[in-house]
Amino acid sequence: MAEPRTRRLSVIGILVASLLLTLFGRLYYVQVLDPHKPKQTADLLHQGQFAVPAPRGQIVDATGRPLVTNRPTHAVTVDRETLLEQPDQGAAVLARLAKVLGTPERDLAQEITPCGVHVPSPCWTGEPFQPVPVATDASTATVLAISEHRELYPGVAVQTQTVRDYPGGTLAAHVLGYTGAVSADDEKHDPKLNDADTIGRSGLEEQYDSVLRGTDGAQVLQLNPQGYSVGTVSDIPAQPGDTLVTSLDRNVQSLAEQSIRAQIAASRKAGKPATSAALVVMDPNTGRIVAAASYPTYDPQVFVGGISVADYRKLTAPSAHDPLVSRAIAGQYAPGSTFKLITSSSIIMHHEATLGGTYPCPPSLSVDGRVKTNFESESPGFPLTLGQALKISCDTWFYAFAANEYYADQQRTDAGKKPNEYLQHMASSFGVGTPPGVDLPADEQASGSYADRETRLARWKANRTKYCADAKRGFPDEPNPAQRAFLTKLAAENCTDGWRYRAGDNADMAIGQGETTLSPLQLAVAYSAMINGGTLWRPTLGRAVVDAHGKVVREINPTVKAKVPVSRSVLKYFANQLRFTPDHSVSGALAFDTAPYKTGIGGKTGTAEVFGQQDTSWLASWGPVGASGKARFVVVGMVEQGGTGASSAAPMVRKVYDGLLGAGRPQVLAGGRPEATLPTITPAAQVTTSAPRSQPAGTRPASPTRGPVSPSPTRGPGSPSPARGPVSPGPSGTPDVTPTFGPRR
């Protein structure tokens, strides 16, 4: 018989054995037998969607030459995961990388460490699974060094991103505009946008943002609760943006900008401040803009990847004279005598004068108790026809009509009737006071302005208190005593009589002074209407939208805004009268003296006085005029503080014609006329976002093995760079999948 002790031990042994056998049985069931084995449930894994930014479409000129393209940049990224798997936790790799990048190794190590409570800045603020960019826009040498010795750089990858590139530098910068990073506001406005996108912030980039942006691809990754990728769920490639074909001609634009620079230099040499200038070249028959140049300008490249504070300060400094303002389209200036086209139209169409009649052109005229003189008190000493008055730009000739019109209106108002305000209505008919409707953002096109009774009264009502307070206070902050006295007097006058529209105001308007303003583009549109028989265009810059396969998605055609209420014969009369003749009877013709095409050109100068500044110099011109009476171009030039129209704007405009028509300099435009046909946009060969990489670097494959370091394939520097020839629209550079998640530094 077993001793009790032994029996008890057996009991214990059986108990223990049964416990362990139970465990084994359960283990066997759970691992082998269980027919309902639990799987890794999807709700514990979650999906992360990451945008694959689409390369923006190109902007090309009327012949398909690129104005805005894309440029690949190489970013060097480091995958911490892979580094940490190295025997030395990546110390050697970091050391090599630091040497190649020229960054201290310690800085690199800090940069790639995810931020945490105990991790001081600089640290990685993105998701832990993301490869950390340690160098953006890396040099070719760096890229080569890394790519040629992949084995030395496990976890280090070169990623290619596309950014905006401006082959013409500052060429047409104002019109093309710039892009910026998507802000929270933008995302609210358009939920499809994301941080990875760039968005047009001005110019055509903003106006045609939706077609240029393309459709972002989406990469959906399976993430574990820690945010590490365990697989790719789906990968939708990005659709690159469409190409915008514009009516701009790169050569003409370049010529216009050269002409402006040359004239600015010449005017400054002649002692004029010549702070800014603008040129608009337009096809009067189609309403298409061939060139729109403004000075000063800026380099849109500074906005790529976000403008630096220093650059922004430089651009917004007072001494820079607002280079971001597109003066040709968004600037508005007193048009001076160029406005007489509108005044003349009003006078003739309302039968205040006849085309054959002659009217006086005295040296001076007293209007409403104020003596108004001609420019330098010139007078031929005999009455003039309208044509003659336009040619020599006799101001007093027009004053008389404006004053008479004013007095007639006053009688009407005294009689309780509405004033006719013929001049104002004619100005409005020529588009003054309304946006020109060019295909640019609304805040980048000036409407121009003029004064009338109603607006004067409304403004006075709104500002009376301020006028009166200013008059009382004087302008103690104004250092110049003369200016101070003038401002105070003006304020006093405005306080009491600011509501009053005077005869002098109407006279001022008649010669494009006073409160009359126009943008160079508006003037070009108005003169286009004159030379094309009365069609007031909504001018356009866009010509067509072409997709990545070269298919024309949409043609953009200018629309007619209005027909000016002036008969063809009258418009033809103006054009004929202002046509340059071999002599100098038309003001401004002097500048075209040696040009072989001189008599094919017509033009009206303007010299607008600006209080406290030098005159604004204008020339609104058209030509060459064919047998049908149609002109190929309308060219409007403006030089702020440039002096008379004939001395500053005219020579500037002449240089443009020289180039357009190939006189004295190489012809910049084939056939000397605006491009009529759409260029063939070849399918962008390399536009594909099917990145060879199915997972971004730094993700962990779920099974079965992670394998050795898999360098994320990028477009190596050895692969041929896509041609960026004159007619190769489509984003240059292979748009690599660049999962830009999380905040960027």
């Binding site: 799987k39 945490g116 574990n224």
Partner: protein, 398 residues
């Protein structure tokens, strides 16, 4: 003289007692026991490594940090075991009560200077970042204390070598005090192990069946009342509810169970391979290096690896019981206590990994990361060896 010891079988007596001459050690060290224990500890090192490397890397720490610390614990454990193995078991008569009292003091100290981790006020922070969990040592202390008590205090029933009622009541008292203290922390898992170990000891000590069965009834009643009266903490009740119905709250209390279960279930026969378990790599299982270390074995080494651990525990228990079978009474009780401790704690821990037992914060002996348990269990193994080395005669030399 250090080699002189009191007769362990002699009744407790104040004043000088008979001094025995030390006997020659007849047996060597139980190599199988040592190898088994070391194998468990080293398997534990690999599992702890696998469980922690990716999350350490994510934190930017040394991915081998836990591995090194676990190996350090193993080293200290080996040293402790060697020291314990050199103890003359006849000294247990003095060492046992001291161990018991010392552990009890440690438990009391927890209430004075302890720290709360994972809801249990069970740790004492030592300078230098060390943490001590006195309840782990209490298990050993209780075993040693009871072993000595049942030897020394045999009451009236000397002839039968069976404990009499006073002995049993004293034993119940000795069990109840630490049990209550541990319940107050509250550390339900340790309390359960303590109770189960003590129960095994009572059986081994020839306590009459009416007592042992009666205690089971009383215990069941106690558990019932504890649940009803709200003595148990909410999280403990939640764990029990999860145990009863694992699908009930997969994101909350059942999360551990579900994740561990997924890991083990997908291990299959051969496992995913070291470092390749998605659940482990993805750090889905909380506390995976401690209480749920078994799920790493299940996922990455499959039935073979996880089964091997159970087999190793079986070998451990077998060797322990073998030692018990040929030891003297004190040694036998000590060995049985240690075997019950290891077996029940392993059962409880592996069971909760497999969804067999409710989740209680208990490490898997030798395998889980954790210093206190490793040290206490190493000491226990050392004492087993000591028992085996010294208690070579069946009856005391009188």
């Amino acid at each position: 003289m250090t080699l002189l010891a009191r007769d362990p079988a002699a009744p407790m007596r104040l004043g000088p007692s008979r001094v025995l001459r030390p006997q020659r050690i007849r047996r060597g060290i139980d190599v199988v026991l040592c190898v088994t224990t070391l194998a468990l500890a080293l398997i534990g090192a690999v599992l702890v490594w696998s469980a922690t490397r990716s999350r350490l890397a994510d934190e930017g720490s040394n991915p081998q940090g836990y591995l090194y610390r676990h190996l350090g614990n193993v080293g200290i454990g080996v040293a402790l075991a060697i020291i314990a193995a050199r103890v003359d078991v006849r000294r247990l008569r003095t060492i046992g009560p001291l161990l018991y009292l010392g552990s009890l003091l440690g438990l009391l100290a927890v209430f004075a200077v302890g720290t709360t981790i994972n809801g249990a006020h069970a740790w004492i922070m030592l300078p230098g970042g060390m943490e001590l969990q006195p309840s782990e040592f209490m298990k050993l202390g209780l075993i040693a204390g009871l072993a000595v008590m049942f030897t020394q205090w045999r009451g009236s029933d000397r002839a039968m070598l069976r404990p009499a009622t006073p002995d049993i009541l004293l034993a119940i008292g000795l069990i109840t005090v630490p049990l209550v203290l541990i319940m107050l922390q509250p550390d339900l898992g340790s309390a359960m192990v303590l109770a189960a170990t003590a129960f095994g000891l009572l059986i081994a000590a020839d306590v009459p069946a009416r007592w042992t069965l009666g205690l089971i009834a009383v215990g069941a009643l106690g558990v019932f009342l504890a649940i009803k009266s709200g003595v148990l903490a909410d999280y403990q009740l939640a764990r029990f509810r999860v145990f009863a119905n694992p699908g009930h709250d997969p994101r909350g209390a059942a999360y551990n169970v579900t994740q561990a279960r997924i890991a083990i279930a997908n291990g299959g026969l051969f496992g995913r391979g070291l470092f390749q378990g998605p659940q482990t790599r993805g750090a889905f299982v909380p506390e995976q290096q401690t209480d749920f270390v078994y799920s790493v074995a299940g996922e990455e080494f499959g039935l073979l690896g996880a089964g091997l651990i159970i087999v190793l525990f079986a070998v451990l228990c077998w060797r322990g019981l073998r030692i018990a079978a040929r030891a003297d009474r004190t040694g036998r009780l000590l060995a049985v206590g240690v075997v019950c401790w290891f077996a029940f704690q392993a059962f409880q821990n592996i069971g909760m990994n497999l969804g067999l037992t409710p989740v209680t914060g208990l490490p898997l002996p030798f395998v889980s990361y954790g210093g206190s348990s490793m040290f206490a269990q190493s000491l226990a193994v050392g004492l087993l060896i000591a028992v085996d080395r010294y208690a070579t005669t069946r009856r005391p030399v009188v």
